[in-house]
């Protein structure tokens, strides 16, 4: 009796990295890109009040957004690597701890985690808000990264490990010299995805009074009452950033594939 493996669909965490074969999104990318830049340039010219004002108000928020994103993704990758290793560990306790971490983090909304870690941290240690925000984002994304690393490591043929061990490398060296450098290639696309998703999610830290793009915009809007125009501009800026990032990441992927293709 024929049994067919059911197809698995997984949709990423919201980044729109166009794949070369995806023609629809590719040309949509161009239109979106040109349209976004066009609006960002034209709106302030046509209607300088408030659009030009908004553009003047927001830039330091962009810096904060990037700062939080880059610090968070770096920390999240460290946590993710450890979690990923924990999830494939044969040590039952470590394995369980890593799994539990993933399970709990995935089960709680990021915003709740942000509040929680922010306040909980505040109770026990005195850290600046931006550090608290970075820690909260990293703890959350570390769980997702853990799954990415786990899948990446598992995608490497076990023969690589055996060859490395038989040369005299220990488990840790094998991971460092042989498995991770190869897993990196498999991991890059989802990491790129997570990076963009994280950048977007940093908008949540605006609620913790970190002056990112969104916070800056809200401050402007609350004084000028130009809600509609401010949020239009904010959305355009985010869109521009993610469009550019997704293109960069997709290009990087192509370059990193050298030892597979050339």
């Amino acid at each position: 009796m024929a049994e067919q493996e059911p197809t698995v669909i997984e949709i990423g965490d919201g980044a729109a990295i166009p794949k070369p074969e995806d023609r629809g999104l590719l040309s949509a990318w161009w239109i979106a890109f040109v349209g976004t830049i066009g609006l960002i340039v034209i709106l302030p010219m046509v209607k300088p009040d408030p659009y030009a004002d908004i553009l003047r108000f927001i830039p330091d928020g962009i810096l904060v957004t990037f700062k939080v994103t880059i610090m968070s993704i770096s920390l999240a990758m460290v946590i993710g690597l450890l979690t990923g290793l924990g999830r494939i560990s044969k040590n039952r306790f470590i394995n369980l701890m890593a799994s539990l971490y993933v399970e709990v983090i995935r089960g709680v909304p990021l915003l709740v985690q942000l509040f929680y870690i922010y306040f909980a941290l505040g109770r026990f240690v005195r850290v600046p808000d931006i550090v608290a925000a970075v820690i909260a984002m990293s703890v959350c994304y570390g769980a997702y990264m853990g799954e990415v690393f786990r899948a990446g490591i598992k995608s490497i043929d076990f023969g690589q490990t055996e060859a490395s061990l038989s040369l005299g490398f220990n488990q840790r060296q094998t991971m460092t010299y042989v498995i991770l450098p190869q897993a990196w290639r498999t991991i890059l696309p989802p990491v790129g995805n997570e990076f963009i998703a994280l950048l977007k999610d940093t908008s949540l830290v605006s609620i913790l009074a970190v002056s990112d793009i969104l916070r800056r915009g809200r401050e402007y809007a609350s004084e000028s009452f130009n809600y509609f125009e401010t949020y239009t501009m904010i959305a355009l800026i985010y869109l521009l950033i993610t469009l550019v990032l997704s293109k960069l990441i997709s290009n990087m992927e192509h370059r990193l594939s050298h030892y597979e293709r050339r």
Partner: protein, 246 residues
């Protein structure tokens, strides 16, 4: 260590997978410079035996002593023992993210702390030996199977092991490439390397083996020099196997 003592001493080892007995009270000695060829039908435990020798597979009982060191003695560093044992796999297992030369130099540089230049010199010499020096900067995927396997042999040799273990090194190769790999192995044998080889290449077995071991159902059924083994096998099962395969 007594020079006359076997460099590999396997005593009464057993291994079960679940309820399946893959190695059943196997004992085998290999002397320095000896070439042992292991034959046997599929599933008879040849690979398991070979992998037990460098503890890629742990055994359930029995002892294995390599170069005077007990593999299961907790005071022994298994990684140091493995450096003495070069292993070549059916599926080559070259490191895909490294060039041929990097494959060869990684272990000497990291494990023996050999300076990079010296490791590369050694690497190139070994590539010369296996006849593909010109591919030093290529990546594994760019090579044919035969070339990859020769690199894999060179990679194992780069650690200057005392013993080489081969697990069906030519079974994944197209017929045209088998010869080039066997040539390298024959040369190695001529230079006096201690070798344990699992293979189905009878010609190779005849030519280089000092001792042929025949396994079936996890047991060593027969062990003899190749002349006697091929011309006048003692056991029925050996005869049946030879009939099928020749």
């Amino acid at each position: 260590m007594n020079a006359a003592e076997p460099i590999i001493q396997i005593k009464n080892i057993n291994k079960t997978f679940g309820t399946f007995k893959a190695l059943d009270d196997v004992s085998l000695d290999v002397s320095v410079g000896e070439r042992v060829v292991v034959l046997g039908p599929s599933g008879s435990g040849k690979s398991t035996l070979l992998r037990a020798i460098n503890r890629l597979e742990t055994i359930d009982s029995g002892t294995i002593i390599v170069d005077g060191r007990n593999l299961y003695d907790p005071s022994q560093d298994i990684n140091r023992i493995r450096m003495e044992l070069g292993m070549v796999f059916q599926s080559f297992n070259l490191f895909r993210h490294m060039t041929v030369l990097e494959n060869l130099t990684l272990a000497p540089i990291k494990l023996k702390k050999m300076p990079k230049s010296q490791a590369e010199e050694l690497g190139l010499k070994l590539l010369d030996k296996v006849g593909i020096r010109e591919k030093a900067d290529w990546y594994p995927v760019q090579l044919s199977g035969g070339q990859q396997q020769r690199v894999a042999i060179a990679r194992a040799l780069a650690m200057e092991p005392k013993i080489m273990l081969f697990d069906e090194p030519t079974s994944a190769l197209d017929p045209e490439m088998i010869g080039e790999v066997l040539d390298v192995m024959i040369n190695l044998a001529r230079e006096g390397m201690t070798m344990v080889v699992v293979t189905h290449e009878m010609g190779f077995a005849r030519e280089v083996a000092d001792k042929v071991v025949f396994m079936d159902e996890g047991k060593i059924v027969e062990m003899a020099p190749p002349d006697r083994f091929f011309e006048n096998p003692e056991h029925k099962r050996t005869r049946k196997f030879l009939e099928q395969i020749l």
